[in-house]
């Protein structure tokens, strides 16, 4: 019951995103001009702050907010960010979800104890993966949607004069 409602809500979010891409360019740009500083930039800062592990600093420096009507953040870039020459784009997936084809048992400690699970690991990204991005975005979902709705309201009022 609740699940169906949530799925419908998610579908509506995606539908809204599609319609954002179809709306007149002027209106879309006006939205993007507000959404980037008021939503995307603070959200990117939260994500950057959440990185942990050996690649936290280069990944944090490579987290950017895009100027789009749909609040968007990007982690990556082709610039070399570590001494070995790897770019943030090459680091972010492995650092977040592990990497390679080798599957090994890893142990993850939580506040309620620890759990062991299997994950793709490489020599470079061995051990537990640290998904700091999605949980951070989940945690920020409430105010992001609310602020986005406020912005749409304001921009529409401005545009409709």
């Amino acid at each position: 019951m609740s699940g169906q409602g949530l799925e419908a809500f998610e579908r509506e979010c995606k539908s809204t995103a599609r319609n954002l891409r179809r709306m007149p360019a002027d209106l879309r740009k006006a939205l993007a001009a507000q959404v980037q500083p008021r939503v995307a930039v603070p959200l990117a800062a939260k994500v950057a702050q959440a990185f942990t592990g050996p690649w936290a600093a280069p990944l944090a420096a490579s987290t950017k907010a895009r100027k789009l009507a749909d609040p968007t953040i990007v982690v990556g870039g082709s610039r070399r960010v570590v001494s070995g020459g790897a770019s943030a784009r090459q680091l972010v997936y492995g650092a977040t979800w592990g990497g390679g084809k080798r599957v090994a048992s890893v142990t993850r400690r939580t506040r309620r104890g620890s759990s062991t699970y299997r994950a793709h690991v490489t020599k470079q990204f061995q051990g537990k993966s640290r998904d700091n991005i999605i949980p951070t975005l989940k945690a920020q979902g409430g105010w992001v949607l609310e602020e986005f709705a406020n912005i749409v309201d304001e921009v529409w009022e401005d545009q409709s004069g």
Partner: protein
């Protein structure tokens, strides 16, 4: 190492299915804490709202009250901020749960587990949380269906959709969402209701005092007491008075604006309180204090304090009303004087009647002379001038009728101008009509009877032809309406200028004072009921009269 692949890009709306939107309900224990915190905040909000009781008692100083309203708004904002942070906290709890998509089901498991532990507060939170989840599910489903059916792809549609979405997110926070939405809404509505009720009450008292000539006589006081009987509050008031050992009649009269009774009741209240405290002290010294006696003493003191508070509140209202009535009385002589001046000018305005009468008498004589000449010129010896003057008699009657109508129009001139103003005739045309003076009176009267379409056409023609041609236009309209109006004489022109002056004066007499205008603006801005606007101007556009306000 080749730099292949793509950056990690996340768009909130496009990737909504990657986020667990039900996560806020995952940790019910934390939700319970949040709910309790929100409840505390609501209590504080209620306290803040209670302080706004003063709003009613301090209608004299609306600025101060609005300041308090702003303070309350800040409190509301703080509650909202607290609630948001609580909501963020709920979200953070979800981070530690693997398989976030199962969180809704697992939350119900936790409800069951919590019930088994018998933790009462967690149970309560669980109930609220499950209600919240159910509500969110149903709302989300309903909203999605509605939006899918009505979504037109426009920005307006997106706005509505996202407002719905945000509302659903707030609803998902359960008690926290209630703190933001329902709590704030109820509080604001309550505050506004209090302000409106108080304002209406004071306004009514002012009218009562004005009717009574500034001070209530015995009949007026009794009429007020009758209201207590009508609204059913008299029984409770009488019980209060008896409990406080105060004369019931004095208490009711004091609440009804009788200042002598107010003084007596206050003294009686003081005496009662002294007596109650003395009795309590005597019991304490005698060592005969029991739980019941202590409770009784406390109840009595509370009743006395309540009564005292009621008296203060009532006295404040009557004082405000008396001030307002006094201010009105102060302005009355000036208003009367101006009205008399206007009346005098209007009386001068009808002087042309004598001019007309004289002119008509002269015309009658001239007609008679002509008729006599005609009769003399005829060959018949039997005819006389009377055979030829019949038309003149009829003509005189018509002239007299026309003059009578004109005088009536002139007398109703100011009223007719006000009528035109109410019907939306703009200031420029009104000024032009006023400038026409007595000549324009039938025109003004005719315009008040014209249809909206014709009136609009006339206004348009006035604008197009401009000030210079207004006289000619007025004459044309008069002719079309069949009015009989003679040529303008010098006397009438003089009368016209005399009558033009009262127009701004009349508007001033009927327009709100600058203070009232400020109050109206403030009230409208705050979405409260506007204070009483003079009846004549209630339907007149503000732009018509506001320029006359100094």
């Amino acid at each position: 190492m080749a730099d292949r692949g793509r950056d990690l890009k996340v768009s909130i709306l496009s990737d909504a299915d990657r986020f667990d939107l039900a996560a806020p309900a995952d940790d019910l224990e934390h939700l319970g804490d949040s709910a309790r915190a929100a409840g505390d905040d609501l209590e504080r909000l209620d306290d803040a709202g209670r302080t706004l009781d003063d709003l009613g008692r301090s209608a004299r100083d609306a600025e101060e009250d609005l300041g308090r309203l702003a303070t309350s708004s800040r409190d509301l904002d703080r509650v909202e901020t607290d609630a948001k942070s609580a909501g963020d906290g709920v979200d953070r709890m979800a981070q530690d749960v693997e398989g976030a998509a199962k969180s809704v089901d697992s939350s119900f498991d936790k409800i069951a587990a919590a019930s088994k532990r018998g933790a009462q507060d967690v149970d309560a939170a669980a109930d609220r949380g499950s209600d919240s989840l159910r509500e969110m599910g149903e709302e989300g489903q309903g909203t999605a269906r509605e939006m899918a059916a009505s979504f037109d792809g426009s920005a307006d549609g997106i706005k509505d959709a996202m407002q719905e979405a945000a509302a659903n997110v707030l609803a998902a926070l359960g008690p926290v969402g209630a703190a933001i939405g329902i709590g704030a809404g109820v509080a604001i509505g309550w505050i506004r209701g209090q302000a409106e009720a108080a304002k209406e009450e004071v306004s009514e008292l002012v009218s009562t005092l004005l009717d009574a000539g500034g001070r209530l006589d015995n009949q007026g006081v009794l009429a007020q007491i009758r209201k207590f009987a009508e609204d059913g509050s008299i029984t409770a008031l009488a019980q209060e008075a008896r409990a406080g050992k105060v004369d019931v009649r004095d208490y009711l009269r004091a609440l009804s604006g009788d200042t002598d009774a107010l003084a007596r009741t206050r003294k009686a209240l003081d005496d009662s309180r002294t007596a109650v405290e003395a009795e309590a002290e005597a019991r304490r010294q005698a060592g005969t204090v029991t739980t019941e006696s202590a409770q009784a003493t406390q109840d009595q003191i509370i009743a006395l304090v309540n009564m005292s508070s009621n008296l203060d509140e009532s006295a404040e209202k009557w004082s405000l009303a008396a001030d307002a009535a006094e201010a009105y009385a102060d302005q009355l002589p000036a208003g009367t004087e101006a009205m008399e001046a206007a009346q005098e000018a209007l009386e001068g305005f009808v002087d042309p009647l004598s001019t007309y009468t004289e002119a008509l008498s002269e015309k009658e004589a001239a007609e008679r002379e002509t008729a006599e000449k005609t009769a003399a010129a005829t060959k018949s010896q039997s005819d006389s001038w009377e055979d030829y003057v019949g038309d003149v008699k009829v003509s005189i009657g018509e002239y007299n009728d026309a003059l009578e109508q004109q005088v009536k129009d002139q007398e109703a001139w100011a009223t007719n101008l006000a009528t035109l103003a109410r019907r939306g005739v703009d200031e420029g045309v009104l000024a032009e009509l006023a400038r026409l003076g007595p000549e324009g009176a039938p025109l003004v009267a005719g315009l008040t009877k014209a249809s909206d379409k014709e009136l609009a056409r006339t206004v348009d023609l006035f604008h197009r032809k401009g000030k210079a041609s207004a006289d000619g236009l007025g004459q044309g309209i008069r002719d079309n309406q069949g009015s009989v109006v003679g040529a303008a004489s010098a006397a009438r022109t003089a009368a016209a200028s005399a009558v033009s002056a009262p127009i701004p004066m009349w508007v001033r007499l009927n327009a709100p004072s600058p203070g009232e205008v400020s109050a109206i603006r403030r009230d409208v801005q705050n979405n409260l009921r506007p204070v009483e606007i003079p009846v004549m101007l209630r339907n007149v556009p503000t732009s018509t009269w506001s320029r006359y306000i100094p």
